[in-house]
């Protein structure tokens, strides 16, 4: 009898627990929870994203946003891994090089139909390449970026260089002057570590030398012409001692640290370095001495060079909150928000470049360089197997930079690896 009663009590307890859970679930459904995946370096800082999000949530009390910040190096793998996951992300930040892969693997939602004409016409065309694959859009662009040529005005003045170099051969010539005068042992710093950073620097030079990554059929085309010239340029600059040999283990942050310590006359880096190197005495020993220009060209081939380093915000296929996610994305990418956070990133909206507050403010020189560059952002190849493509190039370019292979042989090996897969 007692046994029976205790069993009954047990069932009662279970039933009430169950009821409680159903109640909880209902309560939760009134409140949408968005999971966002962001990156924690460059562009908008973590603090910026959190502040933007806090403002958004304040306007939408029924929405909660959980943010995750990962290093750039983990971003791609996290997005890929979350595919098919029951509790994945609703909003992901992604790099310009992934839409082809993410579209082919159905990782991102096609949002072409959600995009308004105002967005289409208001945002710089260069930014749109970030989210577009085969004429469909897989999100909204958020950040406009490229690599720029930074220089240390004090060092140039000390070396008696009055005109800022406008071609890559001039950069090398000026660096030789600086080196020969004993001002710096290694005047140029690059991010040539075995990472995507290396491909970005290579893309700038390939663009300057008029090369292309792939031909119209999508087959590797970097192993001849401009692509070969670019790598030869890189290898020669190491051989002649004007490029810092430690570049082969630098990422962008290492370049920034070396440049900000006054240990480099020239550096190639993203737009985020401007505010930190020129305006922030906590981070830099060369505050007020920094100049920035579009990355130079090569006589007879180009006037300036660039690499599209924009990023976009997309909605994973598995998200069940696409509408809410889209609303949040449109808020983050809106001109109003971007104009309010110009300390760390340049807006991508055309009319923002007419704002005197931006063009004449502390970010002015950077904004001007961006204005010139953004009309011709050079893309890395839109291939679905981009990670393999990039890895093969990274390895073989490094082989060549480290003196283990001739540029032509290294690039051929990279092309063979890519086509072999």
């Amino acid at each position: 009898m007692t046994q029976y009663r205790s069993k009954k009590r047990f069932f009662l307890a279970c039933a009430s627990l169950l009821a409680l859970q159903i109640g909880l679930a209902e309560a939760a459904s009134a409140n949408t929870v968005l999971h966002g995946l962001f990156m924690s370096q460059a562009g908008y800082s973590e603090a910026d994203v959190r502040a933007m999000t806090a403002a958004y949530v304040k306007m939408h009390p029924d929405v909660t946003v959980d943010l995750e910040f990962v290093p750039y190096e983990s971003l791609h793998d996290k997005i890929l891994l979350s595919k098919g996951s029951a509790n994945g992300y609703d909003v992901v930040l992604y790099d310009v090089i992934w839409p082809a892969e993410f579209a082919t693997k159905h990782i991102l939602q096609d949002v072409s139909d959600r995009i308004t004409p105002d967005m289409k016409s208001g945002i710089e065309p260069g930014a749109w390449t970030t989210v577009t694959y085969k004429d469909r859009e897989y999100g909204l662009p958020w950040l406009l970026d490229s690599k720029f040529l930074y220089y240390n005005k004090a060092i140039l003045a000390k070396a008696g260089i009055t005109a800022v170099p406008t071609t890559w051969p001039e950069v090398i010539a000026d660096s030789k002057i600086i080196k020969d005068k004993g001002i710096l042992q290694y005047p140029i710093a690059w991010s040539w570590s075995q990472a995507e950073a290396l491909i970005c620097d290579y893309a700038v030079l390939l663009n300057a030398y008029g090369g292309q990554f792939v031909d119209s059929a999508g087959a590797p085309a970097f192993q001849t012409g401009g692509g070969l010239d670019a790598l030869t340029f890189m290898v020669d600059s190491l051989k002649s001692g004007v490029s810092n040999p430690h570049s082969t283990e630098y990422l962008e942050e290492d370049v920034r640290r070396v440049f900000s310590a006054g240990q480099a006359a020239f550096a190639l880096n993203w737009s985020y370095m401007w505010a930190l190197a020129n305006n922030n005495p906590k981070e830099s020993k060369i505050v007020g001495q920094v100049g920035v220009e579009p990355a130079p060209g090569v006589p007879g081939k180009s006037t300036i060079s660039s690499v599209n380093g924009a990023m976009g915000l997309g909605i994973p296929t598995a998200s069940k909150n696409a509408a809410a996610a889209w609303d949040y994305i449109t808020y983050l990418t809106s001109q109003k928000v971007e104009d309010a956070y110009t300390a760390d990133a340049i807006p991508m909206w055309k009319s923002s470049f007419e704002e005197p507050a931006l063009m004449n403010g502390p970010l002015g020189p950077m904004a001007k360089a961006m204005e010139t560059t953004q009309t011709q952002l050079f893309p890395r190849p839109f291939v679905p197997n981009y990670p393999q493509f990039s890895a093969a190039l990274q390895t073989n370019i490094q082989q060549s930079l480290l003196g283990k292979a001739e540029p032509a042989a290294a690039l051929k090996a990279a092309a063979d690896t890519i086509t072999g897969d």
């Binding site: 999971h35 098919g84 996951s85 029951a86 990422l251 920034r256 240990q263």
Partner: protein, 281 residues
């Protein structure tokens, strides 16, 4: 046994050399953590800080919303949670089997070898299937998932250590209690466990240390400060998120401190565990 004079001189010289090799990198971490960023990026390198700067410790030990400190302290909390959970679960699962392995030595040796051999399997082998299992159970980004995953590493080791410890307890003591009619459970509580106390504490400390060290699972299965562990937090800091070496050093020191204290407690046990424990297994 006495040393000759030259022997002693050589011995002390060797001791000093070894001591320096071990201590200098550690000392440099401590110095970096209290040096200003300017001192750390001056060339030639400035070894002695011009002024002491404890701001990184303040930063890391603050719970202000969305600060580095919050990330760090939450990671610390998560690590403790996972360590305790993994240890308790592994211990409970391994103890009965370890006891049987010890008491039926010979007949179950092959089975024990099989268990211990799973230590050879790299975590990378389990990551993809475990990810899908956790995903379907909605366990991703929870300390519980890490407790389960970390058990893949901790279980075999725990079994091995416990078996070795119980080996050293004479079975006759248990048999005497059994004759008195005590149940197996009672014998364990009254005889085995009290006698096995040293090996139990060793096992627990080892297990905590292994969880403290775990990185791959934590990196892949967690996504924010609600479950991220200390190794992931440190690796994130080191991967370019922070350009301040002093902050890295301070975070490293704070995160390593609990592990080092556990290590110090283990000093004797490490020795005993490896010389007696499981050797015959």
């Amino acid at each position: 046994m006495k040393l000759t004079r030259t022997g002693a001189v050589l011995g002390y010289a060797a001791m000093i050399l070894v001591g320096l090799v071990v201590v200098l990198p550690l000392l440099w971490m401590v110095i970096m953590s209290v040096s200003s960023t300017r001192d750390l990026t001056t060339l030639p390198l400035h070894w002695i800080p011009r002024q002491l700067d404890f701001s990184r410790y303040h930063r890391l030990l603050s719970l202000a919303a969305n600060s580095d400190g919050q990330t760090f302290l939450f990671a610390l909390r998560n690590t403790v949670e996972v360590a305790i959970g993994t240890t308790v679960v592994s211990f409970a699962l391994a103890l009965p089997a370890s006891w049987l392995f010890a008491r039926r030595e010979g007949r179950l040796d092959k089975l024990l070898m099989l268990v211990v051999a799973t230590y050879m399997l790299p975590p990378l082998l389990f990551v993809v299937p475990l990810y899908h299992i956790f995903s379907s159970l909605s366990l991703l980004n929870s300390p519980l998932a890490l407790m389960i995953a970390d058990s893949t590493v901790v279980l075999p080791f725990t079994t091995w250590l416990l078996k070795g410890g119980i080996d050293a307890i004479p079975a006759e003591l248990e048999q005497a209690a059994a004759i008195d009619g005590a149940s197996l459970w009672r014998i364990w509580l009254a005889v085995t466990l009290p006698l096995a106390r040293p090996i139990i504490s060793t096992t627990i400390l080892f297990s905590v240390l292994m969880v403290w060290d775990e990185f791959l699972y934590a990196m892949i299965f967690t996504s924010d400060s609600s479950a991220q562990t200390i190794t992931v937090a440190i690796a994130d800091l080191a991967s370019g998120r922070v350009s301040d070496y002093g902050l890295l050093a301070a975070a490293g020191i704070l995160a390593a401190l609990p592990a080092v204290i556990i290590g110090a407690c283990l000093q004797r046990a490490l020795v005993a565990g490896l010389t007696t424990g499981g050797v015959k297994g």
